[in-house]
Symmetry: C2
Subunit: 309 residues, 2 copies
């Protein structure tokens, strides 16, 4: 059933960019794919546990996401939010009515003693998704943004609440829970690990820094897709973070340097390959405008990975 | 501002019938009215604390209720419910999207240490309601229905989940929290207490049996509006419960007998007064089809109460 010779592929993903790429991989690799998702952005809102990246991956692979708006569910409504606003409650995070069902089901399941991994598997199954989707950890690891202007903010306070405007001085992960055994098993048995076009500092680093992950990656073939195209981030605040956090101008090369020896190969936009040395590079169209783009890019990435065997 | 000479009126209420009558009282008495509401039907659903009678009173007095459907909010949608159903979650209780904002706000506030009384006051204020609405207690008192066919069920499991079909052998209140001091203060300072046309066994008894309420009612003028009209309940399962629980045929007189010496006066439907003795009775049109009916009935009830001075 799989359009690749890899038997077991693990993709590491944050939100939208990583999710769209994972959707392409899912079309090519089906159930041979496991997506390990950042949970550093998870937070509690209206008393509910919200896992934005896990849900973005689930909605995207389930064909439920609103591709035009770029977040959330297609056909979403906001009746609950408007009433919460009328009650004077917090309305800065756009939780839609359909989306709420996910957070209610998850929060209730966690309160009954299920793990985030278990409830995610249950939700993913009911959506009818072939790949496995794994939160990076079942314990709390919270990405905190140390800003130049506004002190320390949780990721969502910074990213959504302040529209990523305060300059980032440092990223901190509060809480150091291990990767789940499901994540470690998937990594150990993977014949390919692909880091999606997600933000290295706030989407991929939380995964890579989970205890157990570095060891599980020893001997794995790891490649990455650049989230920087022509010096700009395809989505999100990455371009501004690179100079602040690693002292380089924003570029695909800076991302390659940041991942360093972890990578066996790197996929970049046409034109970005010239600045990269000491690493096998594949240059192509990496911007995924359509669903067909996702699958085409995924197939190319897998062919490139096969050429590295 | 008040269309009555009573300075302080307390109404005891369950759900729809009591709420509609309280709405009429609110139109006549404004902020001189305090509604004390049954919380024996409260339950936890999707991890949220739901207070159906408190919400029905709040929505009704706030002009937000769906009078045609007879429950919930006007213009309500059910997007969250449909997704919860798709996830295989419980969908037997119709929580609407707008309604959810109430339960989310309440549950979050309770988790932060607010009392049910405090969060109710906050919600009521934001809806712009002049009367005070008080849950009977801040502690859990759960109405359990001992049935002939299905064992012991929580009120909502019996009433909504089984459509009140299993025959009622006994009503039990599990948990015996006291009335709040706000309820007791309101009762002690009331110059009139009106029991609305609610179910005596499952809506009013939970209030009357809270520790402190009996003492606070000593010396108060208490009148009631019959929930039984011509031998039938205006709404709900009361008519079937009367024979089973007190051995009488369903009638306004049976309700009067049940309340006994608590009552100084009783308001019944035209024609139901003949069977009642030993009690001052006012007969009128008690069925509230329109909002004007509510106000007319409330004004009549208050005039009748004044005649008992």
């Amino acid at each position: 059933m799989s359009g690749t010779s890899f038997r077991s592929i693990v993709a590491l993903s944050g939100g939208v960019g990583g999710a769209r790429f994972a959707d392409g991989l899912a079309k090519v690799a089906g159930s041979a794919l496991t997506v390990v998702v950042n949970t550093g952005d998870d937070f509690v809102h209206w008393g509910l546990t919200v896992s934005p990246d896990v849900d973005t991956v689930m909605y995207t692979l389930g064909g439920l996401s609103d591709d035009e708006r770029g977040w959330g569910l297609r056909g979403e409504t906001f009746e609950t939010l408007e009433r919460v606003r009328a009650f004077g409650g917090p309305a800065w995070f756009m939780l839609g009515d359909r989306d709420l069902a996910t957070h209610l089901t998850r929060t209730d399941a966690l309160a009954r003693g299920e793990t985030l991994t278990q409830i995610t598997a249950r939700l993913v199954k009911s959506v009818g998704i072939a790949p496995t989707i794994l939160p990076m950890s079942d314990g709390p690891c919270r990405t905190m943004i140390h800003t130049a202007e506004d002190g320390v903010l949780s990721f969502q306070e910074w990213f959504v609440g302040r529209r990523a405007a305060p300059r980032v001085r440092r990223v901190e992960f509060v809480g150091n829970p291990p990767a789940t055994h499901q994540v470690l098993d998937a990594l150990r048995s993977a014949d390919l690990v692909v880091i999606g076009p997600s933000n290295p500092f706030v989407s991929i680093d939380p995964i890579l820094s989970r205890p157990g992950v570095s060891d599980a990656l020893v001997g794995r073939r790891v490649i990455a897709v650049s989230p920087i195209v022509g010096g700009r981030a395809v989505k999100g605040p990455l371009a501004e973070m690179i100079p602040s956090l690693v002292g380089d101008a924003p570029s695909a090369a800076a991302v390659a340097n940041y991942y360093g020896e972890l990578l066996a190969g790197f996929v970049v936009e046409h034109g970005d390959e010239a600045a990269i040395s000491g690493l096998r590079v594949h240059a192509t169209d990496t911007i995924m405008k359509t669903r067909a783009d996702r699958e085409r890019l995924a197939a190319e990435v897998l062919s490139f990975a096969e050429s590295l065997r």
